[in-house]
C-alpha cells in the first residue's frame, strides 16, 4: 500500500515535469495532466478500498485502525532527523478520493473551458502542480511536511488566480489571496514551532501520544492550537481573513471549482480534522473553531444574498459552507464536519462548473443581465439546479444529510446561539441559491442583446474553431506560439469573444460535451453522497471513527427543512413569481442592503489598514532609518573626511616644514630618552 500512496502523490509531478520540460502541444499537455490525475484517482480508489478492508478487520478485532505510514529521512539537524513521507488513515483516504475525483473531472472540463487560451499548456502545468501539492498536504504525516505543501497549494492558488495576469483585477486578486492567507500561515507556523518546542516532534501521532500521556496540554496547547487554527482561518477563508476568496473568482472558473470550492479551501478544515485529537485536548481552541465557523457561516451567507456576480454568490456560499464545516468540527463532531466537506466538494464543484458553463455559453456573469438560459442550456440548468438544491439542503440530496449532521452536532453541544446561526444560515443559503438559479436560468434574457435565438442542434456541438481570437487586441503571448492560439479578450472572463459574433449573449448555447459530461458525473454524488451518512446508519462516521455517531434529532431536521423550504419559497416569490418586489425589499432594507453590498466595509477597512496605517508606520520607520540610522553612519564618515581634510594641510610640499617636523620629533624623542635615562 505505501507504494500506491507514493504513486498517487508523484504522478501529478511527472505530468508537471513532462509539460514543463518537453513542452508538448497544448492539447497533449491537457491529456497528460488528465492521464496523471486519472492514475492518481485510480490508485486513490485502490487505497480507499484497502483502507476499508483494514478498517473492517480492525473493527472486527475491536482495535483502532492502524494508519499506513511510509517515511524517508529528509535531513538531519544535530541529533534530530526530519522525515517526509506518506500517511494514510480513513481521513486521508476519504480526502484523497475527494481531491482526485474533483480534480479529474475539473481537468476534463477544463479542456473545453480553456480551449484556445494562449496559456493552455501553462494552465495544465499549474493544475498538475496544484494537484500534487494538495495530495502532498493530504498525505502529510507531520506538521512540517503539511506546512510545506500548505504553502505549495497557496502558490498554485496564486498562480491560477492570476492566470490571466494581463488583467489588473486578476493580478490584484492573486496578490490579495496570497498575502491574506499568508497572515494566517504566520500563526500556523508559530503554532507548529510552539508544538515542536514543547515536544520535539512534528509527527501527528507522536504529538497525539504526547497529549495522551499529558506531556502537552493546558494553556500551551490551547495557544498553539489557536495559532494553528489561524492557518486554517486564512486558507479556508474564515472571518476575518475571508476577503480573498470572493476576489479569487477572477481566476478561470474550473480553478474556482477545484481550488476555491472543493479542495484547497477545505484544506483548513482538513488541518483541523487531522489535528483533531490535539484540538480535543484544548477545549478553548475548539470553542474558537466553533465560534469562528458559526459566525463565518452566517456572516458570509448574508453577503451572498446581495451579490450580483454569479461566481461571487457561489464564493460567499463557499465561505459560508466552510464555516459550517468548522462549526461541526468545533462542537466536537469530526465526522459531521468532514462529511459536510465530502458532500460540499461535489455539489459546490458542480455549481461552479455549471456557472462556468453559463459564462462560457452566455459570455456574461452578471446575474441581472443573464436570464432565460434554461431553454438554451438545459443540461447546465438541470445540473445547477441539482447542485443548488443539494446546497440548500433539500432532502434527500447530499447537502441535506451532511448539513443536518452538523446542525445535530451543534444541537447536542447545547449552544443555542450557534444553533440559531446555523439554522438562519440554512434559510439564507436556500434563498440565495434559489435567487441565483432563477435570475440566471428563468425569465427572459436581460443582457446587451435581445433574447437569444435558439440555434437548432447547437447543443453539445464541438466548440467553433478559435480563429476569431486574434481580432481582439491584447498582449502578445510570448514563448513558442502554437497554431490557432490567439489572444483572449481582455475584459470578459472567458476569453473567447470573437468566435461568437458581435453581441454577447446573442448566441447563448449549451457547452460542449467535454464540459457537460463532468457536470452530469458530479451531479450523481451531489444527489447520493448523503446516503453514506444517514443518521442511525452512518457508514461515513463509522469509517472515520470506527464507531457509530449519535442519532438524529427530529426537531433539528424538521426546522432545517422548514427553513430551507421557506428560503426557496421566498426566493421563488421574489425572483420567480415576482409576487414580492425585489426592488421593494431592497428599498425596505436599504441601509442593510448597502452594508451587505459593501461587504460590511471590511475590504475598505483592510484597505485603510494597509494603505494608511501600515504605510504610515512604514513611512515613519523609513524616516527613522534614513535620518537617524543612516545619519549616524553618515556622521562617522563625515567626521573622518573632515579630519582627513584637516591633516591634508600639513602636507605642504615645503621641505623646511618637513624638516622642522623631523627636528621637533627628534627633540621630543631626545627629551623622552633623557627623562627615562635620567631616572
Amino acid at each position: 500500500m505505501p507504494s500506491t500512496l507514493w504513486l498517487i502523490l508523484l504522478l501529478p509531478v511527472v505530468s508537471l515535469a513532462l509539460i514543463t520540460l518537453l513542452r508538448p502541444a497544448p492539447r497533449w499537455s491537457g491529456r497528460l495532466t488528465i492521464l496523471a490525475i486519472g492514475g492518481s484517482f485510480v490508485f486513490s480508489v485502490v487505497a480507499f478500498f484497502e483502507m476499508l478492508t483494514r478498517q473492517q478487520a480492525a473493527v472486527a478485532a475491536h482495535q483502532e485502525v492502524e494508519p499506513v505510514v511510509s517515511m524517508v529521512p529528509w535531513f538531519q539537524l544535530g541529533k534530530t532527523s526530519f522525515e517526509v513521507g506518506v500517511l494514510a488513515d480513513p481521513l486521508a483516504a476519504i480526502m484523497l478520493l475527494v481531491v482526485t475525483t474533483v480534480s479529474l473531472l475539473v481537468q476534463v472540463y477544463s479542456q473545453g473551458y480553456m480551449a484556445g487560451d494562449p496559456g493552455y499548456r501553462r494552465y495544465f502545468a499549474f493544475m498538475s502542480l496544484f494537484t500534487f501539492s494538495m495530495l502532498g498536504l493530504v498525505l502529510a504525516p507531520n506538521f512540517l511536511q503539511m506546512f510545506i505543501f500548505w504553502e505549495l497549494v497557496g502558490v498554485s492558488s496564486y498562480l491560477l488566480i492570476g492566470f490571466w495576469y494581463h488583467k489588473p483585477e486578476a493580478a490584484y486578486a492573486a496578490k490579495k489571496a496570497f498575502i491574506t492567507t499568508r497572515l494566517g500561515d504566520l500563526g500556523f507556523l508559530v503554532g507548529i514551532l510552539m508544538l515542536y518546542a514543547y515536544t520535539g516532534t512534528f509527527d501527528f501521532h507522536q504529538l497525539q501520544a504526547a497529549v495522551k500521556v499529558g506531556a502537552l496540554g493546558g494553556a500551551v496547547l490551547s495557544t498553539a492550537m489557536v495559532l494553528v487554527f489561524m492557518g486554517a482561518v486564512g486558507k479556508s477563508a474564515q472571518f476575518p481573513l475571508h476577503v480573498w476568496l470572493p476576489d479569487a473568482m477572477e481566476g478561470p472558473t474550473p480553478v474556482s471549482a477545484l481550488i476555491h470550492a472543493a479542495t484547497m479551501v477545505a484544506a483548513g478544515v482538513y488541518l483541523v480534522a487531522r489535528a483533531f485529537p490535539l484540538f480535543q485536548a484544548a477545549p478553548t481552541a475548539l470553542m474558537v473553531v466553533a465560534v469562528v465557523g458559526g459566525f463565518t457561516a452566517f456572516f458570509a451567507a448574508t453577503m451572498g444574498l446581495v451579490m450580483s456576480d454569479i461566481k461571487r454568490v457561489l464564493a460567499y456560499s463557499t465561505v459560508s459552507q466552510l464555516g459550517y464545516m468548522m462549526l461541526g468540527l468545533g462542537v466536537g463532531a469530526l465526522s459531521a464536519g468532514m462529511f459536510h466537506l465530502f458532500t460540499h466538494a461535489f455539489f459546490k464543484a458542480l455549481l461552479f462548473l455549471a456557472a462556468g458553463s453559463v459564462i462560457h455559453g452566455a459570455m456574461e456573469q452578471d446575474l441581472f443581465k443573464l436570464g432565460g438560459l434554461r431553454r438554451h442550456m438545459p443540461w447546465t440548468a438541470l445540473t445547477f439546479a441539482i447542485g443548488g438544491l443539494s446546497l440548500a439542503g433539500v432532502p434527500p440530496l447530499a447537502g441535506f444529510w451532511s448539513k443536518d449532521e452538523v446542525l445535530t452536532a451543534v444541537y447536542h453541544s447545547g449552544n443555542g446561539l450557534l444553533l440559531a446561526l446555523g439554522l438562519l444560515t440554512a434559510f439564507m443559503t436556500a434563498f440565495y441559491i434559489t435567487r441565483a438559479w432563477l435570475l440566471a436560468f428563468a425569465g427572459e434574457w436581460r443582457g446587451a442583446a435581445a433574447a437569444p435565438p435558439l440555434p437548432p442542434g447547437y447543443a453539445l456541438t464541438p466548440r467553433p474553431s478559435p480563429t476569431g481570437y486574434a481580432l481582439t487586441p491584447g498582449p502578445t503571448p510570448t514563448g513558442r506560439g502554437v497554431g490557432g492560439e490567439g489572444v483572449p479578450a481582455a475584459g470578459s472572463e472567458a476569453g473567447h469573444g470573437g468566435s461568437h459574433g458581435g453581441s454577447p449573449g446573442a448566441h447563448a448555447h449549451e457547452s460542449p460535451a467535454v464540459m457537460v459530461v463532468p457536470l452530469l458525473i458530479l451531479a450523481v454524488p451531489s444527489v447520493v453522497a448523503g446516503f453514506l451518512g444517514l443518521p442511525g446508519a452512518n457508514w461515513f462516521g463509522s469509517f472515520l471513527h470506527g464507531e457509530e455517531e449519535s442519532a438524529a434529532e427530529g426537531i433539528v431536521i424538521a426546522s432545517s427543512v422548514v427553513l430551507a423550504g421557506l428560503g426557496i419559497l421566498l426566493g421563488y416569490l421574489t425572483y420567480g413569481a415576482r409576487a414580492i418586489s425585489a426592488e421593494g425589499l431592497t428599498a425596505a432594507f436599504r441601509p442593510i442592503h448597502a452594508l451587505l453590498v459593501n461587504k460590511y466595509g471590511l475590504d475598505d477597512l483592510y484597505g485603510w489598514l494597509v494603505n494608511r496605517l501600515y504605510v504610515g508606520i512604514s513611512l515613519a520607520l523609513a524616516w527613522f532609518d534614513q535620518r537617524i540610522v543612516d545619519g549616524l553612519v553618515n556622521l562617522v564618515a563625515w567626521l573622518a573626511a573632515q579630519v582627513g581634510r584637516g591633516v591634508t594641510r600639513t602636507a605642504t610640499g615645503q621641505l623646511p616644514n618637513y624638516a622642522l617636523a623631523v627636528f621637533a620629533g627628534v627633540v621630543v624623542i631626545a627629551n623622552v630618552v633623557a627623562v627615562v635615562a635620567g631616572r
Binding site: 591634508t648 602636507a651 605642504t652 610640499g653 615645503q654 621641505l655 623646511p656 624638516a659 622642522l660 627636528f663
Partner: protein, 108 residues
C-alpha cells in the same frame, strides 16, 4: 679658564644658527651651508668631550674616541657636500631654480 661648558654653549649656538638657517633659508645652497654649520657644531662638541673626559674602564681610548668621530664626520660631510651639490645642479638644470619652495613635486 675655559671650561667644557663654554664649548658646549658655543656648539649649541652654532647648531641653532645652522638649524634656523636650514629651516628658514630658501636657497638650497644656503641650506646646505647651514647643514655644514650643524655638522661642525657637533664636531666641536665631540672634540670638547674628548679633551675633557678622562679614559675610563668603559672608554679605554679616552680622548681618541671623540676625535676619531670628528674625523669621520668631516669625511662624511665632504662626501655629502659633493652629493648634495650634484643633486642641486641636477635640480637646477630641470627646474631652473635652486629655491626649496619650487621643489614641491610631492605636494598633495
Amino acid at each position: 679658564m675655559i671650561t667644557l661648558q663654554h664649548f658646549l654653549v658655543l656648539s649649541a649656538v652654532i647648531f641653532s644658527i645652522g638649524l634656523y638657517g636650514a629651516l628658514a633659508k630658501r636657497n638650497v645652497v644656503a641650506v646646505l651651508m647651514c647643514i655644514e654649520l650643524m655638522f661642525n657644531a657637533v664636531n666641536i662638541t665631540l672634540v670638547a668631550f674628548a679633551r675633557y673626559l678622562p679614559a675610563t674602564a668603559g672608554n679605554p681610548y679616552g680622548p681618541l674616541t671623540g676625535q676619531v668621530f670628528a674625523l669621520f664626520i668631516i669625511a662624511v660631510a665632504a662626501a655629502e657636500a659633493a652629493v648634495a651639490l650634484a643633486i642641486i645642479l641636477a635640480v637646477y638644470r630641470t627646474r631652473r631654480s635652486v629655491n626649496v619652495e619650487d621643489v614641491n613635486l610631492l605636494q598633495s
